[in-house]
Symmetry: C2
Subunit: 166 residues, 2 copies
Amino acid sequence: MGRTADYSKERCSVAATLEVVGDPWTLLILRDAFRGVRRFDQWQESLGVARNVLAARLKTLVAHGVMEKRRYSEHPPRFEYRLTDKGKDLRPVLITLSDWGDRHVYGENGPLHFLHEPCGHKLRPGLVCMDCGEPVAPRDLRMVHNPDSQTVGEALADRELLEAEG
Amino acid sequence: MGRTADYSKERCSVAATLEVVGDPWTLLILRDAFRGVRRFDQWQESLGVARNVLAARLKTLVAHGVMEKRRYSEHPPRFEYRLTDKGKDLRPVLITLSDWGDRHVYGENGPLHFLHEPCGHKLRPGLVCMDCGEPVAPRDLRMVHNPDSQTVGEALADRELLEAEG
């Protein structure tokens, strides 16, 4: 499936996330990272993606601070990629994507599930408000617009500056 | 950004969801649907996407049972698109995507936030296990693989048959 979209001119936090990780290979690279993959060749084997595409996606993830590249061997020089805290914060995105596919594409025979060890159940994830702990019901949410917000492109450019200064 | 990926041969619920809604325009179409957009021209105006692209994406969403097409006027014949229950189940995906972009791209000045009316706080969504109600901590999850699962393509084909048999 070919894909083209320009998110940079949107004023939207969904588009902002997609601008950073919305590339399809990128989401699968992150999925693998959450399962412990750290090395180029492991991703290549898992995804069967062209080396130049994989290299470009990892570079972008490092540039956005979602992953960091570390040398784990001096001779020969070898590198691994690890999720940063910012990257680890994508876990709920991956879990909710996985849950929907599990229920609505695979039915009850998905390729993998998560066991929630403290209670022993297969994980069915739900969203709660972290302030009051109550489940998030659509009728309880009111959208509040911010008239002064930037476009995705502007916000990313500012953030790059911040991190370069930081 | 150009995108190409084939999810159909993956055995993975994340890839399964992406096969249905992972197209970038599709995720923004769904975002708008959650905000009340129902008509072709409203999406066209919101997204600035080519009419043929939008038409193709809506058709795919209807084919997958994520949206339904309803006639709302007889003369002239006019149609609207509404999220089905299966489509509404994507809300957690959109909320987690939005939350990450809000925190990590926009910082604290995002274009929109959700007010959680029962408690009056700006929504910070968290994931809980729906069985025990406890927050989902990474260390509490154990992956369980199912050796007999289908590929995404096979699962989608079966589901189509199921739905056709109704």
